[in-house]
Amino acid sequence: MTTSELVPPPVKKAGPALESLTARGRQGRLRNVTRTWRGRVLRIAVPVGLIVLWQLSSVLGWADEFTLPPPSRIIAAYQELWANGDIQAALPISLKRAGTGLAIGVSLGLVLGLFAGLWKIGEEIFDAPLQMLRTIPFIAVVPLFITWFGIGETPKLVLIAAATIFPMYLNTYHGVRGVDKKLIESGQTFGLRGWRLAARVILPTALPAALTGLRYAAGVSLLALVLAEQINAREGIGYLVNNANQNQRPDIVIAGILIYALLGIVVDVLMRVAEHFALPWRPRVAIG
């Protein structure tokens, strides 16, 4: 700095030590608006562009219709599936599979997580084995489940349940264990013990973690569904896909895959909405 210490300059200039921070101003606000709109437009334009490109690829003959059927063919496939009632038959069956498996897995995970979280003895009994089992990729046990449970509905449900126990267990357990000790103490000083302490302090505070577990588990249940439906399914979306594959109908295969993807999105949105309503006390829970 070269300025004299005794007589500071009346107006400080930007230099190596000072930086001038400009106010946003009119132009800046305008730029913000443009940016926002650019964001919105691009978000829609890019996917639409990709779909157009996909369609063009077959119109212009870049890709063989058989390897990659264009979007128009896939829409036609949906119409066909709808017309002969295949989707209406398959979707509820797949949803029921995923839902039943998820309900079993999540209930078990929740109960075990609460037990291990609230009671030392529960932790001592269940935590080590569950942590060990958790490391097994559920994909790897499919052949074993087939030999144990056959190829009917049971192995499918067991697989989905088994895959969803762990995210639910882990999040619940950590949620309960992670409740601030200070909050627990403040409950204790006001005479809360046992289940009252759990109901009024621990469980409500652990709920966000449990809901995160539920959201993960719901996502995993769809993953497990796809896998489970590879096991000789006779009905459901997986059956549609496998069948179409054997009949060399790639358009229906892609249509089926997209249904799985759509289910994933729907489940995620539903879970976020559920969180929003279940956790009103959390500041700014964003939907979507």
């Binding site: 103490e185 403040s186 409950g187 204790q188 000083t189 809360l192 956790l279 006390w281």
Partner: protein
Amino acid sequence: MSPSAETVVDARGVRRVFDRAVLDGVDLQLKQGDFVALLGPSGTGKTTLLRILAGLDAADDGQVLVPRKRSVVFQEPRLIPARRVWRNVVLGSRNPRRDRKKAVTALTEVGLAAKSDAWPLTLSGGEAQRVALARALVTEPGLLLLDEPFAALDALTRIKMHDLVAELIQRHNPAVLLVTHDVDEAILLSDRILILADGSIDVDVAVDFEKPRRRSDPRFIELRTHLLERLGVS
């Protein structure tokens, strides 16, 4: 000295050992309506003693007799974020819904009736601490333990809280043990000041001039000088 009928806290020879004997024979008697301030350098075991009196920690040795109904206000408000403000106030109640009126009355006392349905995370620091105070008093405790309850507040809010606490305590009349680092605060609010040093109560002085006390009062200044000297600051 045997505990008289109105003695509400009677602690004798309290010992608590961590890596060293943090409390090594603390004796403390409080009568109903006593307002006692506990001073002492950081790490001397004030919080440890308070936690033992609260029943949150057990002494390794000694006798502790305290009222069944006790309340604590800590430096942080420690409200349950997932429970509305009024539910926090009647946290320990057997039937919170039935006690809702009580909660609102207690919140009115601290000037927060309007926030009774709010979520704790939407409160300011001072408001949250007032809720904690309402929660501590709603049970009409025989002993109120305050562990630096004003330390996290700004200076203006702190002055208002001093007045509020003084007024509420006069109305509810529990025995109060206030842990603080602020000598002025101790002189302003309490009737008796203790200094904890080397594991036991080292200084026990009565503050016997009338309230409200002024910092400019010569007796105030004299007592402060004395206490600061005993705390090793002068």
